[in-house]
C-alpha cells in the first residue's frame, strides 16, 4: 500500500521557489486525503504536472505533448537564470518503508534526461501501478469521445496491457506489412520473367503449353520434328544452329540479332529510385542528431567504463567517457542512460544497415544488368561504330557509387544514395535508339530473309530458354518463401489470439465493476449491462480496437456514444477509470484528480463524492479543484481530509498556499476586524444561499422554475420554499419555527448576495451579522449529520426526511389542538 506524504516542486512549471504540499497531519504517520482549491491559473496544475512527470518512466507530461510543448516547457523559465534547481520530490508512505523520499531533477542543460535520486526505487514506484494514478478532466473527455482504435490504446494504458498492445501493433502493422512487401518483391520477379517470355513469344500468357506451341512453331519452320516438352526443345537449339550459314554477313546478323533480342527484353528496375529515396529520407532523420552518430564509435568505451565501474569502490569517481565527476551510484545511472541512448541509436543504425544491405543487393543486380547491356553495346560498336552509349555508362557509374555509399550510410555523413530518375529514363531512351540503329543497319547489309529469320529463331529460342529457366527458379523460390511466411503467419495468428484472449478476459473482469460505479454516478436504471468489448469484426483495426457496449432501454448499443449524452458518457469514462484503479492498482493507493468534476453536470458532482466515499475510503485522494462550491462540499463531507487553498499566484512567488478554515470560522475572523464587516456579511450571505439551495433540492422543496440562467431564486424564495415543504412533511416540528426565526435575518443577508443592490453601501453592524451567523449555523446544524457528513434529504420510499446513515431524522410531529 503506497500513499504520498509530501509533494515538493522547485523550478518546475509555474513554481519557481520550492513549495511543498504536506499530506500528513502532525502526530500522524499515515497520510490523509487532500484537496487543494485554487482559481484557474493559480498554479494547481503545476503540481499535477510535477506528479505526472515524476511518475512517468518516459519522463513525459502527456497533456503538454498535445500542445506540442515538449521538455523545454517543463522547468520554470526563470529557474536557470536564477540558479534554482528544477526538481520534483515525493515522499512515500508504505508499511515496509520501501521508498521513502525520492527526487527527480535535471540539469538545465540536459532537460530530456532527468537525474533520479535512486534508480532502483524509482523502478519500484513505476511498477507499483498499472493504471496511472493521476487523471485530468480532459482525459475523461478524450477517452469517451475517442474512436475504437484510440480507446483500445487508452485502455491498454489503463488496464496494464500496454506492452501486449505494442507487440500486437508491431506484428499487425510493421511486421505483417513488411512481409507483404517481401511477398510482392518475390511475386514481381515472376511477373518480370513472365513479361519477358510474353514479349519473346508474342503471347498473352506465359503458360508452358503456349510457350511450347510457339517454340514448336520455330523448330517446325527449321524442319525439325516437334517436341512434347520444353526441355526437348532446348536440346534442339544446337541442331538448329548447325543450319546457320557460315558467312560474314550471317555472323554479323547473328550477333546483331542476339543484341537486338536482348535489348528488346531488357527491363530496368525503375522502383530502385523510390526505394533509395525512402532509405535516404530515413538516413536524413537518423543523421539529424550528429552527436548520437559520433557516440556510436564510443560504445566500446562505455562498455569498458561500465566494466571499470563495477570494480571500483570509491564514492566519487570520474566518468571515463565525459570526464565529469559523479557519485558512484549516479555515475552508474548516468552511464546506463548513455548506453540506453546508444542502444536505441544502434538499433536505428542496424535497421538502416539491414535495409542498405538489401538495397545493395538490388543495386548490384542492376549494375550487373547494365554491365551486360554495356557488353552488348561494345559488341554492336565493333560492327556499327556510330553507336554511342553515354547514358548507360553514366548510370553504371552512379550505381557503382551508390553501391559503395550503401556500405557506409550510417557512419559516413557524406554518403549519397540519390538516384536521378532522369538518368534511368535516358538509359531506356538510349537503349531504344540503339535498337533502332541496329535494326536499320541489319536492313542495310541486306542479308537474305532466311539468314535473318534463322538468326532470329536461334536467338529467340535461346532467350526463351534463359527466361523459362529463371522463371522456374523464381517460382520455386516463391513457393519456398510463401510456405515459410505461412509458417510465420500461423505463429503470428496464435500469438495474436493469446494476446486478444488475455485482453478480453481483462475486459470481462472489469464489466461488473464499471456497471456498479456507473450506477453510483448516475443511478439510471435504463442503462445496464455495461461492458468493454474487443472489436473483432473485419476491418483495418479488427482485434485491435475496443468499444463500450451497453443495454439502453433493453436495446444493445455499441459504441455507447451512439445514444448517451455527453454528461452520461463522461460518467461512463469516470466509471471505467475508477474501475481500472480499483482492479489493477493493488499496491498504489493514491489517486490524483485534477478538476475531473468538470466533466459532470453540477447536480451529479455529489455522486462523484459518493463514489469516492463508498468505494475508495481506503485510498488517498489528492484532489485539485477550481470550483469553490464543490470544494466547500468536500470540506463538509470529508472533514478528515486536509483542506488547503491557493490564495494567490505570481510568476516569481509561485502559489501562496494556506490552510482553509470552515466558513463559520472565516466569518468569525472577519467579524473580529471592524474593517471587514462587509466581507463577513458577503461570506455568510453566499453560504446561506448555497446551503438553502442544497436543502431545498434535498427535501424536494418546490421553487419557481427559471427560464433564464441568470435569474436564480432569491434568498427569500428559498426560505419560503423550505418552510412550506417542512411544514408539509413535518407538520408541527420545532425546526419549522426555527426556519421562520432565521428568515428574519434575510433582509440583512440579502444585501450581500446575488440580489443585492450593489450601488448602496451597507449600514449593517457587526453585531447584526454575528447574530445572523449564529442563528443560521444553529439552524444548519439541525439539518446536518456529523456521522455521515450529509444534510438530511427526502427519501421517497420511506416518505421520510433523514440523512444517509439514518442517524439524523426529522420526524413528523402531530399538531397540538388548542
Amino acid at each position: 500500500m503506497i500513499k504520498v506524504k509530501k509533494i515538493k516542486l522547485s523550478g518546475f512549471r509555474g513554481i519557481l521557489n520550492p513549495q511543498e504540499l504536506d499530506l500528513v497531519i502532525k502526530g500522524n504517520s499515515e497520510p490523509r486525503s487532500f484537496v487543494l482549491f485554487g482559481l484557474n491559473s493559480s498554479g494547481k496544475t503545476s503540481f499535477v504536472d510535477g506528479i505526472e512527470w515524476f511518475l512517468s518512466e518516459a519522463n513525459k507530461i502527456e497533456w503538454l505533448r498535445r500542445d506540442e510543448a515538449e521538455e523545454k516547457a517543463y522547468p520554470h523559465q526563470a529557474a536557470k537564470d536564477r540558479g534554482i534547481d528544477s526538481l520534483v520530490e515525493m515522499e512515500f508512505y508504505d508499511l515496509e518503508n520501501k521508498f521513502g523520499k525520492l527526487i527527480k531533477s535535471y540539469d538545465h542543460s540536459k532537460i530530456t534526461k532527468p537525474i533520479l535520486s535512486n534508480a532502483t526505487k524509482f523502478k519500484g514506484i513505476y511498477s507499483a501501478f498499472v493504471i496511472r494514478p493521476y487523471f485530468r478532466y480532459l482525459e475523461v473527455v478524450d477517452f469517451v469521445c475517442s474512436k475504437g482504435k484510440d480507446k483500445y490504446e487508452k485502455l491498454a494504458q489503463w488496464m496494464g496491457f500496454e506492452s501486449e498492445f505494442q507487440f500486437q501493433e508491431k506484428i499487425a502493422r510493421s511486421i505483417h506489412q513488411k512481409l507483404k512487401d517481401y511477398e510482392k518483391v518475390v511475386d514481381d520477379r515472376i511477373v518480370t520473367f513472365e513479361q519477358q517470355i510474353k514479349q519473346l513469344t508474342g503471347g498473352l500468357t506465359a503458360i508452358d503449353a503456349e510457350i511450347l506451341a510457339f517454340c514448336n512453331g520455330i523448330i517446325r519452320r527449321n524442319k525439325i520434328e516437334e517436341c512434347v516438352n520444353l526441355n526437348y526443345i532446348w536440346g534442339k537449339i544446337p541442331e538448329i544452329s548447325k543450319n546457320k550459314k557460315v558467312s560474314s554477313v550471317g555472323m554479323t546478323i547473328e550477333k546483331l540479332t542476339k543484341i537486338e533480342t536482348s535489348l528488346a527484353t531488357f527491363v530496368l528496375k525503375t522502383s530502385l529510385h523510390d526505394e533509395l529515396d525512402k532509405l535516404d529520407k530515413k538516413i536524413e532523420v537518423f543523421r539529424k542528431d550528429k552527436k548520437l552518430i559520433e557516440q556510436i564509435d564510443v560504445i566500446g568505451l562505455h562498455t569498458k567504463a561500465l566494466d571499470i565501474l563495477t570494480k571500483q569502490k570509491e564514492n566519487n569517481t570520474k566518468c571515463p567517457v565525459c570526464g565529469k565527476e559523479w557519485e558512484r551510484e549516479k555515475l552508474m545511472e548516468h552511464i546506463k542512460c548513455e548506453l540506453d541512448l546508444l542502444r536505441k541509436t544502434k538499433e536505428e543504425k542496424d535497421t538502416i544497415e539491414l535495409e542498405a544491405v538489401s538495397l545493395k543487393r538490388s543495386i548490384t543486380a542492376e549494375a550487373d544488368l547494365i554491365k551486360r547491356l554495356l557488353d552488348y553495346y561494345k559488341d554492336s560498336k565493333e560492327i556499327i561504330e556510330s553507336i554511342d552509349n553515354v547514358s548507360a555508362k553514366d548510370y553504371f557509374s552512379d550505381l557503382d557509387s551508390i553501391g559503395s555509399a550503401l556500405s557506409q550510410v550510417s557512419t559516413d555523413v557524406t554518403a549519397k544514395i540519390k538516384l536521378e530518375k532522369e538518368k534511368i529514363n535516358s538509359v531506356i531512351k538510349e537503349k531504344d535508339a540503339i535498337a533502332e540503329i541496329i535494326k536499320t543497319y541489319k536492313t542495310k547489309i541486306q542479308p537474305s530473309a532466311e539468314e535473318l529469320k534463322l538468326a532470329e529463331d536461334i536467338e529467340k529460342l535461346t532467350q526463351i530458354k534463359t527466361s523459362c529457366k529463371s522463371l522456374e527458379e523464381a517460382r520455386v523460390e516463391q513457393n519456398f518463401v510463401f510456405e515459410e511466411i505461412k509458417k510465420f503467419y500461423a505463429l503470428k495468428d496464435e500469438v495474436v489470439k493469446i494476446i486478444q484472449n488475455n485482453i478480453k478476459s481483462r475486459f470481462d473482469e472489469t464489466s461488473n465493476r464499471i456497471g456498479k460505479y456507473f450506477g453510483i454516478l448516475r443511478n439510471d436504471k435504463d442503462i445496464k449491462d455495461i461492458k468493454i468489448v474487443l472489436n473483432e469484426e473485419k476491418g483495418k483495426a479488427a482485434g485491435r480496437s475496443a468499444e463500450i457496449e451497453l443495454s439502453y432501454y433493453e436495446i444493445s448499443v455499441r459504441p455507447a456514444y451512439k445514444v448517451l449524452s455527453e454528461s452520461l458518457l463522461n460518467s461512463l469514462g469516470l466509471a471505467v477509470y475508477f474501475t481500472c484503479i480499483k482492479q489493477f492498482n493493488k499496491e498504489c493507493n493514491f489517486i490524483v484528480l485534477d478538476d475531473i468534476m468538470n466533466s459532470l453536470d453540477i447536480d451529479k458532482r455529489d455522486t462523484l463524492l459518493d463514489l469516492i466515499e463508498q468505494e475508495f475510503s481506503d485510498y488517498q485522494i489528492i484532489l485539485f479543484t477550481h470550483d469553490y462550491y464543490w470544494f466547500q462540499k468536500i470540506m463538509r463531507r470529508f472533514p478528515g481530509w486536509i483542506h488547503k487553498k491557493i490564495k494567490s499566484w505570481d510568476y516569481i512567488g509561485g502559489a501562496r498556499i494556506d490552510y482553509v478554515v470552515s466558513t463559520k470560522e472565516e466569518i468569525e475572523e472577519y467579524l473580529s476586524d471592524s474593517t471587514k464587516i462587509e466581507e463577513a456579511g458577503r461570506k455568510l450571505g453566499l453560504h446561506v444561499e448555497s446551503v438553502l439551495n442544497e436543502l431545498c433540492e434535498n427535501i424536494w422543496a418546490t421553487v419557481r422554475y427559471r427560464y433564464a440562467k441568470n435569474d436564480p431564486p432569491t434568498m427569500e424564495e428559498l426560505f419560503e420554499a423550505l418552510h412550506r415543504r417542512l411544514k408539509e412533511k413535518l407538520n408541527a416540528h420545532s425546526i419549522i419555527n426555527k426556519v421562520l426565526e432565521t428568515k428574519k435575518y434575510e433582509p440583512i443577508l440579502r444585501n450581500f448576495v446575488s440580489h443585492s443592490r450593489s450601488n448602496q453601501s451597507t449600514s449593517v453592524s457587526p453585531q447584526e451579522v454575528k447574530r445572523a451567523a449564529d442563528e443560521w449555523f444553529s439552524l444548519e446544524s439541525e439539518f446536518w449529520c456529523d456521522q455521515c457528513n450529509h444534510f438530511v434529504e427526502h427519501h421517497r420510499s420511506k416518505d421520510s426526511i433523514e440523512c444517509q446513515c439514518g442517524l439524523k431524522k426529522l420526524a413528523k410531529v402531530a399538531s397540538v389542538a388548542i
Partner: protein, 60 residues
C-alpha cells in the same frame, strides 16, 4: 518494455513444437529488446533467405 506474459507464451509455444522455432526466437528477441517491427521483419526475411539458399545447396 518487455511483457512477461508475451515472453511466457512464446516460450510455451516453443515447447509445443508446433510452430517454427526460428521465428519464435526472433519474436522473443523482438519482445525482449523492444526493437521496432521493421527490424524484426528484416530478421524474418533474412532467415527465410538463408533457409532458401541452404535448400538450394542441398538440392545441388
Amino acid at each position: 518494455m518487455s511483457s512477461n506474459l508475451i515472453a511466457k507464451h512464446l516460450e510455451a509455444l516453443k515447447n509445443q513444437n508446433i510452430f517454427d522455432e526460428g521465428f519464435i526466437d526472433i519474436l522473443i528477441e523482438s519482445d525482449q529488446s523492444g526493437e521496432d517491427g521493421e527490424t524484426t521483419a528484416n530478421k524474418i526475411i533474412k532467415l527465410i533467405s538463408e533457409r532458401y539458399d541452404k535448400s538450394k545447396k542441398n538440392k545441388t
